[in-house]
């Protein structure tokens, strides 16, 4: 199994609290992938895969760590939460999800978002599976989130 694990590193000392990561995450996971259309269009605005935290002058944005021993994957009752064999990413299959919240309970980072009405996990970072590069990383104005490979080497957008 060839897998090149990529992770997003959070540099909390440099998060400026603008929350643009969320804006770009939402846009990237929208139908149009255009900010203005995403927010001002008719369709529903997607939920970002990012948990933004702020306390006093400190803030950061955290998203799924794609843990090597991901408890959300290991304990998923339906296999909705799974590890993509090719990329090593932890991904979520909405179709399979029944909303048992096992993953929510076990994620020590608390980064899985739910939709109560639908009874499904609604959003979880997929490292922008549709894009070449995670949108939050690309657009973070202060490089407070960076993409690294499994050796911790920074990956730049090419």
């Amino acid at each position: 199994m060839e897998r090149k694990a990529k992770k997003i590193v959070i540099k909390e000392n440099y998060c400026i609290g603008c929350r643009l990561c969320e804006v770009y995450c939402i846009t990237q996971h929208s139908k149009s992938k255009d900010i203005i259309k995403t927010y001002k269009g008719k369709g529903p605005v997607p939920v970002s895969g990012i948990c933004f935290e702020e306390k006093g002058s400190v803030s950061f944005a955290i998203q799924c760590r794609h843990c090597d021993d991901a408890p959300c994957v290991e304990n998923c009752l339906t296999g909705a939460m799974y590890r993509d064999k090719e990329t090593g990413r932890v991904l979520h299959n909405r179709e399979k999800c029944v909303g048992c919240w096992m993953c929510v309970m076990l994620c020590p980072f608390g980064v899985i978002k739910i939709d109560r009405a639908e009874k499904k996990v609604v959003s979880k970072c997929d490292l922008c599976i549709d894009g070449a590069f995670p949108a939050c990383v690309e657009h973070c104005p202060n490089e407070a989130i960076c993409l690294v490979d499994e050796d911790g080497k920074k990956i730049e957008k090419t």
Partner: protein, 508 residues
């Protein structure tokens, strides 16, 4: 009702068709210009608080914001401009001295814009600096007039009779000006320090002391010894690449400095070696230098303290008598002399001083270089020019006028994000530069800052190489003082004479 609300200098225009109400602007403005009303879902902007720093404009993901000058104006009046009127209004409110930040913003003649450069055509070849060797290496320090050596050594080589006085070696004749930790954030210091080290030039502590997180960059630091002597101890002197006695700065010749106690944080307190929360006061003069011979005493005190292995320089503001003063400084034993022109920047200075005291660096460099040459002591000290270098061409011109190297301050800060809003003294720099507020300082990621400042050094060095190549010169030392490469445009005879250059149209 003489009271007036403060002048709205700027307006933040919001294009509602583009605004997606992400509220990034609300979150980032340190001046609280923008606000979001949860009830109505509307965004408001209070222009009166806007400093014109453009941070919100740059952060807005949809380009919905544009900062413009507020067009509201007073009646047209050649003397009583809006600026002067509002200054009086502001002063009438509290009876205080007007403060400002950055360099002189008055429209004095900028001689750089009246000097043009030469290029080779036919009679000698221009050089392609990308492929052919092009050397910008510069040494700062005292040089002997001639070499002294004893005949052939064992291996047939020459043996120097004595080492030449200490030099600092620069890969490009551009250094970062003195900017203290205090006047700028630690992240800004780190950015510049790292860029300087990565590029092989020097940075300068200002009189802020040397924070321990900056130790990794101390190989290339010029430390300042200023009137407040903040952070000065043997360790500080020992770590440095060179020492600089700060007598004056271009933005406020004859004026001291004052870092208010509320900005003296724990970190600054440690670095400056003063109790946290107390005012850091730099007296106007050094109270151990009331005359030139006292300067000599301090220069040699520093040389003694550091074992004569580091160049010791003196920084002065360019004032009327700059050339003889410089000569005196060189004769007092300085290894380099820094002259800071009237456009030199500052974190805070009385506007009246900043805008009216001193002379332009172009004239000062020309006068000092010429004076030192006339006295036959030009070799004895390097000349560093400072104060308002905005482009590589300014640097080329300064070097051709006689500078060995230049200090860049404002342009370095612009590379870190500064938009020259001139509000440094408020401590609310949205770009995380001229502030100690942890919420704001984190905005300057030193990794990015170092990369950007490095890029500026690289870009300007490349441009300098291009200009040198055009002149058919492949080592910057052949530009230094080479005023033949300059011509004035639209300058009076007296100005040309002071600059020591011919007018455009005159051939060799």
């Amino acid at each position: 009702m003489a009271r007036a609300k403060s002048a709205c200098e700027f307006v933040a225009e919001r294009d509602e068709s583009r605004c997606v109400k992400c509220q990034a602007c609300v979150r980032v403005c340190a001046n609280d210009v923008h606000s979001y009303d949860g009830d109505t879902g509307a965004l408001f902007s209070d222009y009166s608080k806007c400093a014109g720093c453009h941070f919100c404009e740059d952060i807005c993901p949809t380009g919905a914001l544009t900062i413009r000058r507020n067009l509201s104006d007073t009646r047209e009046n050649a003397n009583w401009t809006k600026d002067y009127i509002y200054k009086i209004i502001r002063q009438s409110e509290n009876g205080g001295v007007l403060l400002t930040g950055m360099g002189n913003d008055r429209p004095y003649r900028n001689y750089f814009e009246h000097i043009v450069l030469n290029a080779s055509q036919v009679t000698n070849p221009s050089i392609d600096p990308l492929r052919e060797p092009m050397e910008l290496k510069t040494f700062i320090g005292r040089k002997p007039d001639r070499i002294e050596f004893s005949g052939a050594g064992k291996s047939g080589g020459h043996v120097l009779k004595q080492k030449i006085p200490p030099q600092i070696e620069l890969e490009s004749p551009i250094m970062f000006s003195a900017m203290s930790f205090g006047s700028i954030s630690l992240n800004a210091c780190k950015s510049l320090a790292k860029a300087a080290c990565d590029f092989g030039v020097c940075w300068n502590t200002g009189e802020g002391g040397l924070h321990s997180e900056l130790y990794p960059y101390s190989d290339r630091v010029i430390v300042q010894i200023a009137s407040g002597r903040f952070g000065v101890n043997p360790d500080y002197l020992q770590r440095a690449a060179a020492l600089e006695i700060k007598v004056g700065q271009g933005a406020k010749p004859g004026i001291g400095g004052h870092l208010p106690g509320e900005k003296v944080s724990e970190e600054i307190s440690i670095t400056r070696m003063i109790p946290a929360g107390t005012d850091a006061l730099s007296p106007a003069p050094h109270h151990d230098i009331y005359s030139i011979e006292d300067l000599r005493q301090l220069i040699f005190a520093l040389k003694e303290a550091t074992g004569y292995v580091k160049p010791v320089g003196v920084k002065i503001a360019a004032v009327h008598n700059v050339a003889p003063i410089a000569s005196g400084i060189v004769r007092a034993g300085a290894d380099f002399i820094t002259v800071d022109g009237i456009r030199g920047g500052t974190g805070a200075a009385p506007a009246a001083i900043r805008d009216n005291v001193g002379i332009p660096i172009e004239l000062a460099v020309a006068a000092v270089d010429q004076r030192l040459r006339e006295e036959g002591i030009r070799n004895q000290a390097s000349l560093i020019a400072a104060g308002g270098f905005r482009t590589s061409a300014d640097i080329v011109k300064a070097i051709a006028l006689g500078a060995d190297a230049v200090y860049i301050g404002t342009s370095a800060l612009i590379s870190l994000g500064c938009h020259v809003c001139q509000k440094c003294y408020t401590g609310k720099c949205n770009w995380g530069i001229a502030t100690q507020d942890p919420y704001l300082t984190r905005r300057l990621n030193p990794e990015i800052g170092a990369r950007r400042a490095y890029n500026l050094l690289r870009a300007w060095s490349l441009e300098i190489k291009e200009m040198l190549g055009g002149m058919g010169i492949n080592a910057v030392e052949s530009l230094r003082g080479n005023r033949e490469q300059l011509r004035g445009v639209g300058l009076s005879e007296l100005e040309l004479k002071i600059l020591g250059i011919k007018h455009a149209g005159e051939s060799w």
